[in-house]
Symmetry: C2
């Protein structure tokens, strides 16, 4: 089947005179997860992983993916004639090296310009041009042969009321235009769906767990236009848009319209697709999309509302914890069925909208695999011993949550308790941080990572990511990481109102996986002649499982933090619990 | 006098058609301290501070300096007709704003192109060009009127033997040419005197406490040339240079020769003076000067030798500490006389060359002023109470040291002991750091600063700076700071062999000043599948004054670190101490 698809694509490539065709894993908006309509790479290769680039030549093909998929990819590619390229490993050619070494001067490389951002497209242009290859970027060749392609997402939109979002469309447009003026831009093209959803207070369930409608937008100093499949628009959103003088046009109209924009035109070339950017003939102002920071600094209404979402979420997860503890060893349960149970508790909460991502339930050594995915058919049975790591979150109308707890299901080993406590110290050290305004995530990361580095141990991923408000659960530009990777855009100055996770962990292959994750919002503290001090306000309230905590490994200030935190858990969660649940909660939240 | 000099300068400006003349505080090499020959800004303005820019217009003049000098500058400028501009304060115009608002289109701005680096000159060019002003950068107008100008430094050079430097000139040239090839450069112009001194193993006492000869250098893939006043060269250096096929030419010949260099020509525009950079007509490769990193990664010979220098220095400072403790309240002493005594102890050590900077001896509240300068005429008398902070260092032939200790002269207050201990915790937290390779100073800075930030307190300066090897006591590109300031170039990846200080402090205006400074070299630790772990090896050994340490404020691991450190002090220093000194040392180094 894959072979046939490759052959069909090659026929189209020959028609167009294309000798190499690049198929990335992206939609037209650089969305982290892509709707089925955009899963061309998966359809063409059979590889189901979340990251990968397929390159098809006339006589062979190869797929680049990263270390997460070095076991899964060969299985899925078997029999496809597609060669696996282990990205980043010694000896693996880059995509550019592969194409330039297989093509001859004068040949042509193609891709759908809408699926590759302007920065990446320019790099391709430069590298291929250097080797005498031409580019053809205006044809979706996969689209021509994909006869049963799924439809574009078209769920009904809904207006995200100001009682949650805190600002009217007009207020937001005013904020945006202020930024445009500072950048000397007359027009601004917005292509990221989370930015557009924020700007127009609009939501829709287009992609699983991502409540954002596929759309584009342009803002000028006078006008604003939303490009969206118009039949999708609900009546309230339509009325609100009209009221704010926002013009609504069809999704694909952006490509013609952006050629008419008055320059200078502000675009973010790290996310705007190359077809749009290259079609603008006016002067460009290239910079980080100003909406990113406006959106990341949550306003008071968003924060108040988010606090409510977290309390509901805390009640649901605490009920789940109680249920686990009472039933483990008595009721049969698997990773998968337990995750369903957790979903049930969340869904019982008022204003629940969706899980914010696919729950990761990982028992014992499974939790050492950071991208472990349990399915109904293939998952572990829970036993009354060791750790059960559950990473999950909810979209409530009030906001988005993300939490990981590592639950103790029965007897634990000393090694398990030691690492559980060390990882908890990591969490607490960062949670307690007091820092001067101006700090970025990389200044603070070692507070969390350091206590594990002390044992020559690392969790090999970021300590925390920004979180959206009924939006992406991973939101830039704030976060906690120690390395600066410009493409990742998660190292901004930590400003008041920014929400991010704190999720250090310990992962020992074949043995155990532990993660302790809460969300925190940056708040102002004291201002004195040294500057403005900042700290983190905790949003997440669910006890850490004391059965694996060894207080003798903790400093006194860490124990105090934990005791206060557990006291707050009781205060905040009791309203939503049954009597037996509350009695149990009080017991497990007693001071250490 | 100043008025007359300004008038004389204005005559020269008129002759040249210059309407604004900029006089920075720099030599032709961006050296941190400049020799008297180059102190044109001081001579023209009367202002003696270490930082400042004078701008002379035909009818007025202004001097920009920073917060360190807002008290001193007005006194020194009084009667000069020069207006003080408090740089960075609200309402203060920038130099560009001042000049563009006072000059009219078509007018001309001048400076000596040798005193302004290429990056800064380009910024001026762009800004003034935008306002229709022309530039004249090839005349040293101050030089024309400065009749009693001091001579250029011309101390005899000496060869810095390979037994200290660890590499021959040829070995170093080979390292440099390897970097040039990686950068696709055929030629390389080196203008920083510390880089040239490293490359040619040459030293001289040109500037107080800075043992580096004024010179330029060019390296091509085939040849190397040292530009220096030839009469200064000692016989050994001359022989070694000949042996390494290094051509020697006169100091000023660089300006003609660099026009003949084969391109691409590597230059570092952040330090190379604009006259040199702009005179090169070949293609430029602009990047950080490769010698910077080669020099910062100390080799095994340099490290072994530096360890010896630090032990000698430790003996000297420990003897001084003993002398202080025995004599305070009995012998009359001032900040100034105590510093002289310390110099005496250092100078007694074999192979002592010079102090590595002017000792900062600061008693009591004086130590709260970070740039406090005690003179014989104006300094405090030491009393048997409170703290005496002494920041000092030595150049030995084996290497350069920098240490601060805060000595207890008698009874202390509880507040003093609390802050002393907290600042010590800051020092220890960073000293104990274990971190993955790839970390930069800004990843680690909070280890030291965090324990003070916890009390809404900040020391408002870097935690540590790189240190040269019989070279500048402040050396880029390594260091510990939390903010990235590109011009400062002190945020590189911390690599094996890099030496930097760790010097957190507490400064409370009018009350006290505390600083605890040691030097540390980056070393490799365990390598496992998480990566290469790194840690800091301590170079400095002098006890921290236990009389102000309150162990109840420290964590157990911090106390352990300190006890081990004090044990090492006894082991390493005893060889150089008299019996009474050693008995005392053992007593004050007992475990807490």
């Amino acid at each position: 089947m894959i072979k046939q698809r490759l052959e069909n694509l090659r026929k189209e490539m020959k028609k167009e005179g294309v000798h190499a065709y690049i198929i990335p894993t992206s939609d037209f908006h650089e969305t982290e997860q892509v709707a089925t309509y955009f899963q061309a790479r998966k359809w063409m290769s059979g590889f189901t992983g979340s990251a990968g680039v397929l390159v098809v030549l006339l006589d062979k093909a190869a797929l680049w993916t990263d270390g997460r998929y070095f076991i899964q990819a060969p299985k899925e590619l078997k029999g496809s004639t597609i060669e696996l390229m282990k990205a980043g490993m010694e000896g693996t050619p880059t995509i550019v090296e592969y194409i330039t070494s297989n093509l001859k001067e004068g040949m042509c490389v193609g891709f759908d310009g809408r699926t590759i951002n302007a920065n990446d497209a320019r790099k391709y242009e430069q590298a291929f041009g250097f080797h005498g290859l031409s580019l053809k970027v205006d044809e979706d060749l996969v689209g021509r042969i994909w006869t049963d392609r799924p439809a574009m997402p078209c769920a009904k939109t809904f207006y995200y009321d100001e009682k949650y979002s805190g600002r009217t469309i007009n207020e937001k447009l005013e904020m945006v235009r202020k930024e445009m003026k500072l950048a000397y831009a007359n027009s601004y093209v917005i292509t990221k769906i989370d930015e557009i959803a924020w700007l127009f207070n609009i939501r829709a369930q287009d992609i699983e767990h991502v409540p954002l409608p596929l759309s584009y937008a342009t803002v000028t100093l006078q006008d604003a236009t939303l490009y969206i499949n118009q039949s999708r628009l609900d009546a309230i959103s339509r009325a609100k848009l009209v009221q704010a003088n926002v013009c609504v046009k069809d999704y694909m109209d952006i490509y013609e319209d952006c050629m008419e924009l008055k320059g200078p035109v502000l675009v973010d070339p790290s996310s705007a697709n190359s077809k749009i950017v290259f079609s603008i003939k006016e002067k460009l102002v290239e910079m980080q999309s100003p909406v990113i920071l406006l959106k990341a600094r949550k306003n008071e209404v968003e924060l108040a509302s988010t606090r409510i979402a977290h309390i509901k979420d805390g009640v649901a997860v605490t009920k789940f914890m109680y249920w686990l503890k009472k039933n483990i060893g008595k009721v049969e349960m698997t990773e998968y069925s337990a995750a369903l149970k957790l979903h049930e508790f969340r869904a019982q909460q008022p204003n629940f909208f969706d899980d914010s991502f696919s729950t990761i339930p990982a028992y014992g050594a499974n939790a050492a695999m950071m991208h472990y995915h349990a399915t109904e058919e293939d998952c572990a049975t829970l036993k009354p011993e060791g750790f059960f790591l559950v990473d999950s979150g909810g979209h409530f109308f009030e906001g988005t949550t993300d939490i990981t707890r590592t639950f103790v299901l029965g007897p634990t080993t000393e090694e398990e308790r030691i690492w559980f406590t060390r990882a908890l110290r990591s969490h607490i050290r960062l949670a307690k941080a007091n820092f001067l305004f101006g700090c970025k995530g990389f200044n603070l990361d070692i507070l969390s990572r350091g206590p594990l580095w002390d044992y020559d141990m690392d969790y090999q991923c970021g300590t925390g990511h920004g979180v959206g408000h009924l939006s992406n659960v991973h939101e830039c530009p704030n976060g906690f990481r120690w390395r600066i990777v410009p493409e990742r855009n998660d190292s901004c100055v930590l400003e008041e109102g920014m929400i991010q996770s704190n999720e250090p962990g310990v992962y020992i292959e074949g043995v155990l996986g532990i993660r302790h994750e809460n969300e925190y919002v940056v708040q102002k503290g004291n201002k004195n002649h040294y500057g403005q001090f900042m700290h983190l306000e905790c949003l997440t309230f669910v006890p850490f499982d004391r059965e694996a905590i060894d207080p003798s490994l903790m400093n006194q200030d860490e124990i105090e933090w934990l005791n206060n935190y557990h006291k707050e858990c009781v205060e905040k969660l009791s309203y939503g619990l049954e009597e037996d649940e509350l009695d149990w909660l009080k017991e497990i939240c007693k001071p250490l």
